[in-house]
Symmetry: C2
Subunit: 462 residues, 2 copies
């Protein structure tokens, strides 16, 4: 399969330009204003799959945004790889912090990406990483290097909870039948330190509303005598962590799987510089749960973060008002063992219970998903490991990620197959942030590596 | 002076329509977008003063919005009343909570205002109450009932801290020389329980900014390991009150004047129903400093309220992000004895000191002012009291207000004269809130009462 390098060298400009076209469509699933753009992106993905050699490509309707499906079945007796990805992206705001418009991709060199990186919302998460699979398929089909069957399932609601996918999968088990699921929606440690994600955190996302008086009040006439919903909300949120940054919700940790000392020692071997970490974020100190390292805090431990808060007067100048309402969006990252619906219920019950009589509280669950762990002894993981060795020249490190792909747990439950998370992005790619980008080298390296996964997985399946 | 009733009866429709025209101009001083409207309002006030019989009316330029000045000097040997008011208004937002547009005044009957109330931003605070004085002057000049000299000083920055007035007054002491300052920018207990405000709270208004990482981060990849500025801000704000709702800023209470048991007992005589208070605000319980009644909490005790808070993703749907920055607008109401600049410094020092090393904190003072107390034994208060007796038929109750008119303390310091706060609005008029209104009865009653103040003040000055 040596010719994969040549094929990429021949077509790399086209590979990059095709991705740039895809990135120009603002497929923000969280905001109804982009509804048509999301739908247009699904069409673009459909076309790209057909051009790459997929058969039976279709736009599958769902209660929400459609799922793009395509397949290439060369022999029912050969194993089948199901590729999952998503064509929707996070909102771009705060847009004022982007150096170039989020949906006008540009290629710029950076210290970490001397060959240049594509800057645009979705460049890495997940259009860029999803499109690597499309181009890898194009290579395999057009050069006769496809060793097994392949199916693609690309959704448009990953950034808002994959509800329609959860509806679609159980209804299409036969169509989606596979031997392994392959996803590139995670990262690796560094370009010279490839890693494979073996664990994901679950997620529970809620919105809270605190109501005090029935109207905004003059803070002079009422200040001090009436509960201020913003002050109350800050009290309630602050009380969710204790002085050791443990989460105080009763029962929250009951089902958390504690890692053994050995497992934690193994994790600690991954190269990590706290100073570089702090410098990259321009912070003087890290902050987290007592008794755990930074890498443990953001991977094997559950968290509670406020993702947004608002209330009262936030415009120019000053307004002496006591707001009637205050709001917050709060998400909890969960670890294997914690059930997201149970945790959501625990949060709701606790948050309502700590509300003083002077306010009314409403907790609205947004969405969530379970955590997941991939065993490194299965042939999917081994095929991926060998593929990285082939193209990176080193054995990838198994790594727990702090991120969540809630749907992975559902795949295992409904489709009875394991998921392999082959990520080629870097933490510094600023996904979900202004100036998200994806290294050109990483993009092409992914396209080069993926065909080897197919080859080794087919061999190991014999 | 019996003919004041007849004069008002004759001209009331015009009085109301003139006020409605003034209320149509959105003179929001906090928002630069309304710059021209604020200036147009100053011109409208100038015209109204000239029509009412003022001489030497002028638009006095300042570093900010202009101050409208006018006078009617009938005899240098007679006492001089300086009328202060403001033509700027609070922002109208949240506009979606207004039943009718904030700057399209309408008259509607309410339970408390059976003769109808004018609904518009500024109806009561302060265009309506300021304009009572203009119409009272018109009556006195056009019917030969002006018993002394009068000066008007109407500013356009009261809602944003009166900075230009603080610049103007020391530079115009001679022009502003007076024997008493008369202001209608406060309220009374009820239409059948007139009261005169004898105390005002001071104010310190600050904005805080908490910065964590140098960019928004993915809450999965970094959650739990990096300080979330919103969580940190909620902790810091929550810590500003203890479990008894005492403010925890060191030195905050050091100079607070404690009222004697007698004074508190006197205050407690003012009619007040906690149930009605809670019903009017639709709250199940009040909330405030332990050891004080509701009326004490919002008048003789200092407070700390968050007037606005924002950070992270506040749009539709969900965004799993750790924001780089979080903000809050915080105001403290101060009582006599507390110096607002000293308190602002104490807040800044304390707030910066409680910030963990994992974030950076910036505290920006907005504006402030001192509290004030009017002695009830001075002739200004007595003249006001007799005026209310004349038109309401009962003796008004002296009352401390929780609100702030920072400039009052400066008047005493610079102009060496006492301020009398003759308010005709009600707490239920929703100033600073959606659906602000001012009773037509109250508006006309104010016009009727003010001339008696001039009469009695002149007599008592002999």
């Amino acid at each position: 399969m040596q010719n994969v390098k040549e094929y990429i060298a021949q077509h790399k400009d086209r590979f990059i330009n095709e991705l740039i076209e895809l990135l120009k469509i603002p497929s923000v699933s969280a905001d109804p204003a982009y509804n048509q753009d999301v739908l247009n992106t699904a069409d673009a993905v459909k076309d790209s799959l057909e051009k790459a050699g997929c058969d039976n490509v279709e736009i599958c309707e769902t209660p929400g945004y459609p799922i793009v499906y395509g397949e290439k079945i060369i022999d029912p007796n050969l194993p089948t790889v199901l590729v999952y990805g998503h064509y929707d992206v996070q909102p771009a705001d705060p847009i004022e912090l982007w150096d170039s418009p989020a949906f006008e991709p540009v290629i710029k060199k950076t210290d970490i990406h001397p060959d240049g990186a594509i800057f645009a919302r979705g460049a890495c998460d997940d259009k860029g990483q999803m499109y690597m699979h499309v181009k890898a398929l194009e290579y395999m089909t057009s050069t006769g290097n496809l060793p097994c069957n392949v199916k693609f399932m690309i959704e448009g609601e990953e950034e808002v909870g994959s509800e329609s996918l959860a509806w679609f999968v159980p209804r299409n088990k036969e169509k989606l039948a596979n031997d392994v699921i392959l996803i590139s929606d995670t990262g690796m440690i560094a370009n010279d330190i490839p890693s494979i994600t073996t664990g994901l955190r679950g997620l529970s996302y809620v919105e809270v509303e605190v109501t005090g008086p029935n109207r905004d009040l003059h803070s002079g006439l009422y200040g001090g005598a009436v509960a201020n919903p913003i002050n109350i909300l800050t009290n309630m949120i602050a009380s969710l962590h204790d002085e050791n940054n443990h989460i105080t919700i009763p029962g929250f940790y009951d089902k958390v799987e504690e890692l053994s000392r050995e497992e934690r020692d193994e994790m600690a071997k991954a190269p990590f510089s706290l100073q570089e970490y702090k410098d990259a974020l321009d912070i003087d100190d890290v902050h987290g749960e007592a008794g755990y390292t930074t890498n443990e805090r953001n991977s094997i431990r559950p968290t509670l973060d406020v993702n947004g808060i608002w209330g009262g007067y936030t415009g120019e100048g000053a307004k002496t008002v006591i707001a009637s309402k205050a709001y917050a969006k709060i998400s909890m990252r969960l670890v294997p063992g914690q059930d997201w619906e149970e945790i959501t219920e625990l949060f709701k019950k606790h948050f309502e219970s700590i509300a003083p009589k002077s306010v009314k509280v409403v907790v609205t669950p947004h969405h969530g998903g379970q955590g997941y762990v991939t065993p490194i002894d299965n042939i999917g993981y081994q095929a991926a490991s060998k593929a990285y060795q082939e193209t990176f020249g080193v054995t990838p490190i198994p790594q727990r990620s702090g991120g969540s792909i809630p749907i992975v747990a559902l795949f295992e439950q409904e489709l009875k197959s394991k998921t392999i998370l082959m990520g080629f992005g870097l933490n510094s790619d600023a996904i979900h942030s202004p100036n998200e980008h994806f290294g050109v080298w990483n993009y092409l390296k992914g396209i080069e590596t993926i065909p080897y996964f197919y080859q080794y997985f087919t061999e190991l399946s014999k």
